[in-house]
């Protein structure tokens, strides 16, 4: 048994993760083919992104987490610098400045990098002290989270900034943040929200919130998306209309059907059964992530693995929640399934880190 496992082990690959990622990757292409209106070009792009992402998984898995931890402070500073650079000289598209464009070389979103750097940085910081963290450490952690959060929020990119915020906050949570402070923070949300409503928020933002609360109030404007996606999901029923037979998505009623709203396509064509199957795959991934967290040998590894796993769940919950009308619409893609290269590579990189934490644990334990 030792010999049989040794090939994967020597390559520092976790079999369970690999299997689940491959299944989700294949499933993604299957749904995307329908959601994109049989756009083969798009499919090939996504497939190659997936290939690059899987390559990243394998490469990242080779690194010792302790080696990563050493470079984390530098990566954090570089990441924040890039976010500031975006602010100064970023490339604007669709009303938001999110990209750094080096013509002919590369165009990328520093905020995506931050999704990985953020939990690493906080995990690195908190793992150097005893747990549970003291008040001083929490304040410093929150400051570390706050700077990139505000920078990304200003781009503006509410979805990504919340995910970065969550990825950092989960580290603090995993580190054993006292419950009284968690409850206290939750209690503070209400007065802060009220204050924001009256003193901070713009009218258009208020309108957005109101539209979320009652999408039918603006059926042709902002409410349109949510009404149509609910119709798509609901009309799928238990078994769905069948692959490539969803009328909502194929007749362009569903906006962004191949990106953020792709779950509606899945729900329309494969019904409740299809959605549950996807959720099952996600749960298996999450379970594996939590097992890795529990088994991780270093504190840095534990905190990081836990945060990455739970952030992944935030993706899933926020995306499905918003498309089905439970949560307001913020731009959060559905992991693996939504079209988008950067997002997919970032996501898979996270799983590469998880894999590295897991496959290097024995070696660490032996030392």
């Amino acid at each position: 048994m030792r010999r049989r496992a040794s090939l994967l082990q020597r390559m520092h690959i976790d079999g369970w993760l690999l299997l689940l990622l491959l299944i989700l990757g294949a499933g993604s292409l299957f749904i995307l083919y329908s959601a994109s209106g049989k756009n083969v070009d798009l499919l090939l792009k996504q497939a190659s992104s997936f290939g690059i992402g899987m390559l990243a998984v394998v490469v990242i898995a080779q690194f010792d987490p302790r080696f990563m931890a050493r470079w984390v402070p530098l990566a954090y500073v570089a990441g924040v610098a890039l976010l500031m650079a975006v602010e100064v000289m970023g490339h604007t598209a669709m009303g938001a400045t999110r990209w750094i464009n080096i013509p002919g070389v590369i165009r990328f979103q520093p905020s995506e990098l931050m999704k990985i750097i953020m939990p690493m940085t906080v995990a690195w910081y908190l793992s150097r002290h005893n747990l549970p963290p003291r008040f001083k450490h929490i304040v410093i952690s929150l400051a570390m989270i706050g700077v990139p959060f505000v920078l990304i929020l200003k781009q503006p990119d509410l979805g990504t900034s919340l995910l970065v915020l969550a990825s950092g906050a989960f580290v603090v949570f995993m580190a054993g943040l006292q419950w009284r402070w968690i409850v206290g923070a939750a209690a503070a949300v209400v007065p802060i929200a009220i204050g924001m409503w009256y003193f901070v928020m713009h009218d258009y933002q208020k309108r957005r919130v109101l539209t979320f609360l009652n999408p039918e109030s603006d059926p042709l404007g902002a409410g349109w998306n949510i009404i149509q996606s609910k119709a798509a999901i609901g009309s799928g029923g238990v078994l769905g209309k069948g692959w490539l037979l969803g009328t909502q998505s194929h007749l362009d009623f569903l906006p962004e059907s191949h990106t953020d709203f792709i779950i509606a396509v899945l729900a329309e064509e494969f019904g409740l059964v299809g959605v549950c199957l996807l959720l099952l795959l996600y749960l298996l991934l999450l379970a594996r992530g939590l097992v890795i967290t529990a088994q991780a040998q270093t504190l840095f590894g534990k905190l990081l693995a836990g945060a990455l796993t739970m952030t992944f769940f935030v993706y899933v919950f926020v995306n499905i929640g918003m498309v089905s009308g439970l949560l307001p619409v913020v731009g959060v893609p559905l992991p693996f399934i939504s079209y988008g290269g950067t997002h997919l590579v970032t996501l898979l990189s996270g799983f590469g880190v998880l894999m590295a934490i897991h496959t290097h644990r024995k070696w660490i334990a032996q030392v």
Binding site: S235, G237, T247, F253, L299, T309, M310
Partner: protein, 630 residues
Amino acid sequence: MPQPIRLKDHEKDARLVKRRVLVGGVVIILLTCVLIMRMYYLQVIQYEHHSTLAENNRIHVQPIPPTRGLIFDRNGVIIADNRPSFSLTVTRERAGDWPSVLDAVVEVLELSEDDRALFERRVRQGRRPFEPVPILFELSEEQIARIAVNQFRLPGVEVAAQLVRHYPQQEHFAHSVGYVGRINEQELKRLDPTDYAGTHHIGKTGIERFYEDELHGEVGYEEVETNARGRVLRVLNRVDPKPGKDIVLSLDVHLQEAAENALGGRRGAVVAIDPNNGEVLAMVSQPSFDPNPFVTGISFKAYGELRDSIDQPLYNRVLRGLYPPGSTIKPMVAVAGLDAGVVTPQTRVFDPGFYQLPNHSHKYRNWNRSGDGWVDLNLAIARSNDTYFYDLAHKMGVDRMHDYMSRFGLGQRVALDMFEETAGLMPSRDWKRARYRQPWYPGETLILGIGQGYMQTTPLQLAQATALMATRGKWIRPHLAKSVDGRLPVDPNPMPDIVLRDPKFWEYGIRAMEDVLHGARGTARKVGDSSVYRIAGKSGTAQVVAIKQGEKYDRNKVQERHRDHALFVGFAPANNPQIAVAVMVENGESGSGVAAPVVKQVMDAWLLDKETGQLKAEFALPQTAEVSQR
């Protein structure tokens, strides 16, 4: 940091993180359950609701307008048909920067800034996305060619064909058949939105309006699958529209032409009715206008010219022209006098040239100032003696006068299917009290007797009253439609026939009318002398009281326009009435001199055989019958 402490911390940390992992796991499972419950709610509990929503999204019903029914004259000559017409449409969503596309259209077709502004208004009115909006109608061949050549720089601009109403007879039937025009806001409110979903035009006047329901037909539809922006992807189901019903009119293009020629370019009105069945054979209001520009949208300038013309071509003189009937109603008044028992055929009145009420100094003058001496009923009609009728009216009184004249249709709408008809006015005591808060004066009764005073009648009413003389009181409402889709029009509100105490009373009146043309002292004997058949008729004059709005333009013209209108009514052949005609010539002055020849020409056109110049065989009574009639 010392090694032992660190090891101890490590274990404690591991326990702490494990507890957090457990908490995280539980939260993840709980929240996943929330998602599944949400999906269950949408996909199972609300399934019906959402699948209906999705289905409604997908399937659009597109209306297909029916083709409008055709209109023929009694011989089958087409009066209104549908022609393919090309219009220029713009689809905003495909035009991209559509204002600049409009600029290009204006440039390509060499149009004006005003047109440009009009286009912009029309494009803005576009309703659904991807719906082409027509901006210019009735494209010429050259315009179509220019668009085709420049198509590459006119994205979203298309030439579309549709059937549009066309009136090949142009101005000849504008006042009777009417025309269709674009549906306006007001009409939109009262129309059935489904039935008119694809229709852009609606009958505005005349037959087109009256028989709108029959002519329009029923809308068809296509169920099409569309995407969110309304672009049609495929047709799922089609229900063909039901075309509108064809209408055959009783009008005769040849008679119409003859009547127009008889008027000879003078302003006036001619109505010819077949008294036996109420069919209107000719209906002329001159001058007229070409209805075709109204269909596609007449320009403001062209409309202004028609509207402001001193000759009032838009004014339907037959149905809306109100004139005092003058002496033309004397035969009816005479018949009424006989039936009321206030006169007999033998009653004689001495005419010194005027009439005076007992104990009144005012002299009511006869048109012949020197007087006609002793006058009986026959001579009173033939000579159009006013004094006799002052006397008759005085004896009858206003109440009975109102009653009898109303039975002849005066003061009310008489036609079955003419939309614009006005009722005119047959005054009464009640009317005067309501209108002027004044009692009725005896003198007012007198002038009623000669068709003057408050009385207002339309040429159609006069023609119908004359037809009633011809049929001895048999009421059939005059109508323009001979058949609608093969069926006769039905009168929902028939008038009661006029039944006299003694049917012979009719003959006294008719005999006198014949004497108008054929008697030794008849006012129109010049016309009668030249006729190969006998005509029963009556002349009249209508005083021009109202000063026309054109006064400020040309004083000479206005003077001419103050002259009396000439009237003449009649039917023929007198012993076998086939046609009843009423003619009004504006400012024609002399009923017998100007209007009577018009009446005769119309009758000739209808009754005479063109080859022989004799009465058509079908209109001549067998000789014996004619003799027995005398």
